[in-house]
């Protein structure tokens, strides 16, 4: 079994257009959530979200590219560029033949569906642009990354709702660890902040109208975000040999399924995933100092997640930090685990724990150290990242400082 290094990271999300900017704003406890700006937002009950700001795709992509790139693909390519550039890897020959890209997304090209349904249903048009299908398909982003960087090995897209990115990263990790590939590009992206995307979520009545306040007794639901985060996972020894900067080491993962309910989370399912990740990474519970929570800000998630953490870690649950950065960047649905892995990297690499902002009132059912409102400087050796999806599909990743 090979060790697995992260040698590149890139992102665009409501907190920043790069990893550096995102780290600065996570450390500042900045809120990227604000009023939504898009067509027909006045017809929505939910008018806030973590939208990517100051982004004009026409300054980044040409007309031909834009006819094929949904917003979710645009985000993915921007994040991939930063990650691959940082890794310094140029994919050619045998390396290119074995390297691939595994990405997570829940919705794929949601705004392409939305725009074209509008055209045919609302405007009564009988013709849509010929590239609607290649633009909206869930694997479009992964395919464009493969084309951009000459990745000719195993590539695919994982769609497991809010756990998509963690499942994807786990797959890529497994490929490098097993030796199937020396390098894999992975992560996830989402762009559901359009009329139809938010309207669908409104229906569930789990959305907050004012803020995402995970673990706070006065929380009132989740807030959507958008964006992407992409990583380059590489055979650790080979990365070291070529003198690459290693941001962190991925040391394990686990996946579990609740097999119980299509929306309600299960403490047992979450606990099995956390415990499984500890076992896979050969960690004792006491070694974990930070957990990036799934922490959606819904009553159902937050109570269940805290109970699962308390179950797995026992008395050590009181000594570890558990923060939800969704309070800042919103819930990126299928892309969320990827952006949240950045918070874990910041913890183990820079010793800065991103806070849970918007925390106002203690909840006895979430009585853990949730790093309220202010980032903290603590040296952290091992961090976990939780993702618990609708449909009861869970995936937890473990990373270590180098």
């Amino acid at each position: 079994m090979n060790r697995v290094a992260i040698t590149g990271a890139g992102t665009i999300n409501s907190l920043g257009h790069s990893v550096k900017e995102t780290f600065i704003n996570m450390a500042e406890g900045l809120c990227g959530i604000g009023p939504l700006h898009f067509r027909d937002v006045d017809r929505l009950d939910i008018k806030i979200g973590g939208q990517v700001k100051n982004f004009d795709p026409t300054t980044v992509f040409n007309r031909q590219q834009l006819s094929l790139y949904d917003r979710v693909t645009q985000f993915t390519l921007i994040a991939a560029k930063e990650a691959v550039k940082q890794s310094g890897i140029i994919f050619s020959g045998e390396l290119a033949a074995k390297s691939g890209v595994v990405l997570g997304t829940a919705g794929g090209g949601v705004s392409t569906w939305d725009d074209n349904y509008r055209a045919v249903y609302e405007e009564g048009k009988n013709r849509v642009h010929p590239f609607v299908v290649p633009k909206l398909m869930n694997n479009a982003a992964a395919s464009h990354v493969s084309m951009e960087y000459n990745l000719k090995g195993p590539s695919f897209t994982v769609s497991t709702a809010c756990a998509s990115s963690n499942h994807a990263i786990a797959q890529a990790f497994q490929m490098v660890r097993s030796g199937l590939s020396d390098v894999m590009v992975t992560g996830g992206s989402e762009s559901m902040l359009c009329f139809g995307g938010v309207k669908a979520w409104e229906g569930l009545r789990v959305m907050s109208k004012d803020a995402c306040r995970p673990f706070s007794a006065n929380r009132n639901g989740m807030v959507q975000g958008e964006g992407a985060a992409i990583f380059v996972l590489e055979n650790f020894d080979k990365a070291k040999k070529r003198g690459a900067e290693i941001l962190a080491e991925v040391i394990g993962y686990a996946m579990s399924s609740d097999a119980s309910d299509i929306v309600m989370p299960s403490k047992q399912g979450a606990a099995r995933a956390i415990k499984g990740a500890l076992h896979d990474a050969q960690l004792s519970p006491e070694q974990v100092k930070y957990i990036n929570a799934h922490g959606t800000g819904t009553a159902a998630n937050d109570k269940t997640e805290c109970a699962a953490v308390a179950d797995v870690f026992g008395r050590h649950a009181d000594n570890l930090m558990l923060s939800s950065t969704k309070s800042m960047h919103g819930h990126l649905i299928g892309g969320t685990g990827a952006v949240e892995l950045l918070a874990c990297i910041m913890a183990v690499k820079d010793g800065i724990i991103a806070p849970t902002i918007g925390y106002e009132e203690a909840d006895p059912e979430c009585a853990l150290d949730v790093v309220p409102n202010q980032a903290r400087e603590v040296e952290v050796d091992v961090a976990l990242s939780n993702a618990f999806a609708f449909g009861g599909l869970n995936a937890v990743l473990a990373v270590r400082s180098v």
Partner: protein, 85 residues
């Protein structure tokens, strides 16, 4: 604007060329328009003239619509526009 000029404008935009560089004898291939560019051009022409072009990308040669040159495309469109009115 007559039909020919409008079609040439659409094809030129697709090929990222100056309309002056698109002649009646040009083929789509010579203008660097690939199969994706072709379906995009057909879409743009349908939108511009509000017509339906009988073109199947699986069997371009079997279609009733002749795409062998700019001239043949224009005459095909003129016919479809005439049938519409």
């Amino acid at each position: 604007m007559d039909i020919g000029t409008k079609v040439i404008d659409i094809i030129a935009e697709q090929a990222i060329l100056d309309p002056g560089d698109v002649t009646l004898e040009s083929t789509l291939e010579s203008l660097g328009i690939d199969s994706m560019g072709l379906v995009e051009s057909i879409f743009a022409i349908e939108e511009a003239f509000d017509i339906r072009i009988p073109f199947n990308a699986n069997e371009p040669s079997d279609s009733d619509f002749n795409i062998s040159s700019v001239a043949s495309i224009i005459s095909g469109i003129e016919k479809l526009v005439a049938e519409k009115t």
